[in-house]
Symmetry: C2
Subunit: 248 residues, 2 copies
DNA sequence: GCAAAGTGTATCGCACAATGAAACGCAAGG
DNA sequence: CCTTGCGTTTCATTGTGCGATACACTTTGC
């Protein structure tokens, strides 16, 4: 075996091209960008259209449809009504922004994100991704992994700096994770964005396996970092227990 | 030609399966779910791994990597530093949450989303998607299209209701869009979520073509709907002018 | 008005890429 | 120890995906 399957590579190149463009692209244009014959590109497009991943406008030009984005954001469907209720309650109780996420490579994939102060419970931002090493939720998720696994994830690309407080080396990160593991929860104090503080705890299922992580964030120093440890984290832990007990 | 290209269909099925699962999946498990031979599935996985779309953990199980999500969120890269500066300024000026997005089928794809009240400018939620017909930004984007184009988009699936105020039929939507087109900006008053108000304006590039739409949202009745028309919209319009003038 | 260039669409025979059965080594578990 | 399930490798076969070519049609330029 050598090299990727030709058709797979072409499929991904095509999707990538469509996803990158804000305007719909014509068949001829795509054919040129991909360096493939029109007939070939057309067959790919018709296939993807039939599958519901691309659509065509009135002029016949192609563009990526929401279904494509949903491929990766599908996990959002995993958040049941019952879990959602718990999350909203938690948001009201703590007055912070609550998120739920899983680890995907070096990033956290959010399944639920509720901005702080949204009285009516505005659910926004599922499907978003943020760097794991600079967020509380990311660190608590990384802390569930063996150090070697973390090292492999960051193998070639070291953690990137966002603020002066961001952890920017693998050894430092591993050290921080060990401490977090011991402590049972993670804090990010302005590591992603100046003035943004967050705490996170893991959510285990009934069998004791990691299911998600739960995050409480408070922007703009509305809540002192110290207040997280005393007030927010206990509430997070209680909620994580309740949520973990819910049948998936 | 009949039916989708086999390899394309299999590629998408595989990605879909990987994206839907929160835990990494083993080769054998995927082979079973797809109903394909292990050898075949393996070649697909190796291809996608080489292309950087899937990764494997220590135990060899496969999972989707962030790169997959980035296929569709790539447009986020289209927001330059200069544009970002304008957005932050606008957020500070209006005290609302500012978003930037484009239309993708029936949904708005957000390129930038900043929650209200984030003093330091927390950039979150690019790549998220929300239904176009229930958001201000979605309606202003739809209003740029010909009515027939809108009708085609909603052809088989009528607008879904989220609150009692959501527009739930195509004729009503087309009527609202006409009014919006005349007015030059759109308002969503609790159409997506009770108590969430937002206004949006289009952003044209120098050639006069539609580039994006700009949205200002204020949750929890912090700002009265009437205040949008008098205070927020003019600020939005000014910002849209400045942003549209920026070279892409 | 007519070229000319560009578009999307349809056809078709061939090469070879992709396929799945089968066999192998290995680790885990009963 | 045998069994079961896993990932990996090999291999001959075949039918799938390929692109050159040709066609109808619209847009553009003069």
């Amino acid at each position: 075996m050598d090299g990727p399957l030709r058709t797979v590579e072409r499929t991904m190149r095509l999707l990538s091209e469509l996803g990158a463009s804000l305007e719909p692209l014509s068949l001829a244009e795509l054919s040129r960008r991909l360096g493939l014959g029109k007939a070939t590109v057309r067959r790919f497009l018709l296939s993807l259209e039939e599958l519901g991943y691309v659509g065509r406008d009135a002029r016949g030009a192609y563009s990526a449809l929401p279904a494509l984005g949903r491929i990766v954001a599908q996990p959002a469907a995993a958040v049941s009504r019952q879990v959602a209720g718990e999350l909203r309650e938690l948001a009201a109780e703590t007055g912070t922004g609550i998120s739920l996420g899983v680890l995907r490579g070096q990033e956290v994939l959010y399944l639920w994100r509720e901005p702080p102060g949204s009285a009516a419970g505005v659910v926004l931002g599922e499907g978003a991704r943020l760097p794991a090493h600079a967020t509380a939720i990311g660190k608590i998720l990384l802390a569930q992994l063996a150090p070697e696994a973390v090292a492999e994830i960051y193998g070639d690309t070291p953690p990137r700096a966002f603020t002066p407080r961001t952890i920017v080396s693998l050894p430092l990160l591993l050290g921080a994770l060990q401490e977090i593991r011991r402590q049972g929860w993670a804090l990010s104090d302005g590591e992603l964005e100046e003035g943004l503080t967050a705490a996170a705890v893991p959510v285990y299922d009934r069998a004791g396996g990691l299911r998600w992580a739960l995050n409480a964030a408070s922007p703009g120093h509305r809540l002192a970092p110290a207040a997280f440890a005393t007030d927010v984290v206990p509430a997070l832990m209680r909620a994580a227990g309740r949520i973990g007990a819910i049948e998936s």
